[in-house]
């Protein structure tokens, strides 16, 4: 599996993918910098109880849709590396199991998004510090708010990976991803069983961890189904 990942990382060399990984968190932090810069007095009075939590909350508002749209584009770009010259036939004819090939693609998306979330974590700290919110950073809460929405979005990562890999025409996965992102903007009002609600980490029990558990469990099931589908499917 390490070899598969090595190969995957060689293949994304010089692609816009790495730029995208930085652009996502950079965009979120940049927009929040502008937000706080323009409405500093109003926002700091709004959040005077806990400036850090206020900032983290604002960041999350943007990071959820960014994660969804980001994973849509990312999975599509990663699959497209093989679609472009139909390199699937070369890849699958190598002595590597199809399961590992699919797992490699999914894991690559996961790792890259994880890095994005990590960048968001540090970006938020830098932004808070430069806004002079003090050094009493709620690190654990920040960590949760950076990584939980991503983990709760696992069903989408699995779904988009599967769509992007099984169709040559990327218009379909891109459309479903963009529609999903738009719908998720209204996610907090949905019933608890709706996967599009989970990245927002709100549920009737008020336990963000539940949203994460639903997300990870459903994501794993979808991932296993896609894995089986891919390994059975003929390669064009």
């Amino acid at each position: 599996m390490i070899r598969v990942m090595l190969s995957e990382f060689i293949k994304i060399k010089r692609k816009l993918i790495l730029f995208l990984i930085i652009l996502g968190p950079l965009g979120v932090i940049g927009l929040q910098a502008a937000n706080f810069g323009l409405r500093y007095d109003w926002l700091t009075s709004q959040y005077k109880e806990d400036l850090w939590r206020g900032l983290i909350g604002e960041v999350t508002m943007l990071s959820v849709p960014t994660i969804l749209i980001g994973l849509t584009i990312l999975t599509s770009m990663i699959a497209n590396i093989e679609h472009q010259t139909n390199a699937w036939k070369q890849l699958v004819a190598l002595p590597v199991s199809k399961m590992k090939i699919f797992a490699g693609k999914a894991l690559l998306s996961f790792i890259l998004l994880f890095v994005s979330c990590l960048l968001l974590f540090f970006g938020t700290i830098i932004l808070g510090l430069s806004l002079r919110f003090g050094t009493a950073i709620p690190l654990f809460y920040l960590l949760k708010m950076c990584f939980f929405p991503f983990l709760a979005a696992m069903p989408f990562l699995a779904l988009q990976t599967w769509l992007a890999i099984s169709m040559k025409n990327q218009a379909i996965p891109l459309t479903t991803g963009i529609l999903g992102t738009i719908v998720s903007l209204y996610g907090t009002g949905f019933p608890d069983w709706m996967p599009l609600k989970w990245p927002w980490l709100v549920n009737e029990w008020d336990e963000p961890v539940y949203s994460v558990l639903f997300g990870v469990a459903t994501g794993l099931v979808l991932y296993l189904l896609s894995l089986i589908d891919f390994s059975r499917r003929d390669v064009k």
Binding site: K11, K89, Q90, L91, P95, D234
Partner: protein
């Protein structure tokens, strides 16, 4: 009998109700260049995709190196290099990076990259992004990738497709050198008989999903039966005279044809014509070209269906 590298039995692939590959029994012996010949849409690529584990057979079995592909697919693929239809490559990467992306999966030493680059003569262009390569260079990179894992069997689907005459010649020389220099068995498909004729030692002809001929290229050439064409002054009278003297010949377009005649038979006919005072202008041998045999074979099959 020499060792079989590929043996398929009743290999069948259905798309919907149509059998694109229909009960194919393919046998490829070690060290041969097996020319897999068939017109467009005959099922060559589909057969090859099944050999490479890219497509599942609807029916039948595939054994390669004596192993069942259903049970030991990865062990088989470890010994196989392939190039299917047009070449696959990662355009944004250089030739060397393309090979490196495959090399890490195969776990062969880094030095192997230089070796395969030099075999296909791409050493000088190794540092250029592949998207700027000509089709011939991309095709050669495809061969280099196929050779990377030191394969014992090379499966090439229409490797000369789209190449110019010099590219075709180069590819052909490269393919022909493989069994000699590296002991590799090769399956090479084409829809052009002349091409197979110039490199293959064994031939399998497929049309409409069925193998209609499978033997050595010599056996195929033997089928190229010859006939003798006679040009004489009064052709009709000559033909009648021959018939009355017990020689059956064919009269086609003012020429007399003797099919499959032995030397003595031909001599007897000529002698008889001379004795009856006919002027013989020409005695020529007419060989059926492989192309004609191919068309005859594939045409016959088409007529049956």
């Amino acid at each position: 009998m020499s060792e079989l590298i590929i043996e398929t039995k009743n290999l069948t692939k259905k798309f919907g109700a149509t059998r694109v590959v229909n009960h194919v029994d393919m046998q490829v012996k070690k060290g041969e260049i097996y020319g897999f010949l068939g017109p467009n849409g005959a099922g060559k690529t589909t057969t090859i995709r099944m050999l490479l584990g890219l497509a599942r057979p609807s029916k039948g079995s595939i054994h390669m190196f004596g192993k069942d592909i259903r049970k030991e697919k990865l062990a088989i693929l470890r010994k196989v290099g392939s190039l299917v239809e047009y070449p696959s490559y990662y355009g944004h990467l250089t030739a060397r990076e393309n090979l490196e992306a495959v090399r890490v999966l195969l776990d062969v030493p880094k030095s192997r990259i230089d070796e395969v680059l030099s075999i296909v003569r791409l050493t000088k262009d190794a540092k250029r992004p592949v998207k700027g390569f000509s089709l011939g260079m991309k095709q050669r990179l495809g061969i280099a990738t196929a050779l990377l894992g030191n394969p014992e069997l090379l499966i090439l689907d229409e490797p000369t497709n789209g190449l110019d005459p010099s590219g075709i010649l180069e590819m052909r020389e490269l393919i022909k050198s493989m069994p000699k220099e590296h002991g590799i068995t090769i399956v090479v498909s084409s829809h052009l008989l002349s091409e197979i004729d110039q490199m293959a030692t064994q031939v399998g002809i497929i049309t409409k999903g069925r193998i209609i001929f499978q033997d050595s290229i010599h056996k195929l050439r033997e089928q190229a039966s010859s006939s003798i064409k006679l040009t004489v002054n009064d052709v009709e009278a000559a033909w009648k005279t021959l018939l009355s003297n017990g020689f059956t010949t064919d009269l086609v377009q003012n020429n007399i044809y003797i099919d499959n005649g032995t030397d003595d038979h031909v001599a007897a006919i000529v002698k008889s014509l001379v004795e009856h005072d006919f002027s013989i202008y020409r005695v020529e041998e007419q060989k059926k070209s492989l192309e004609e045999i191919f068309l005859e074979l594939t045409g016959k099959e088409g007529g049956l269906l």
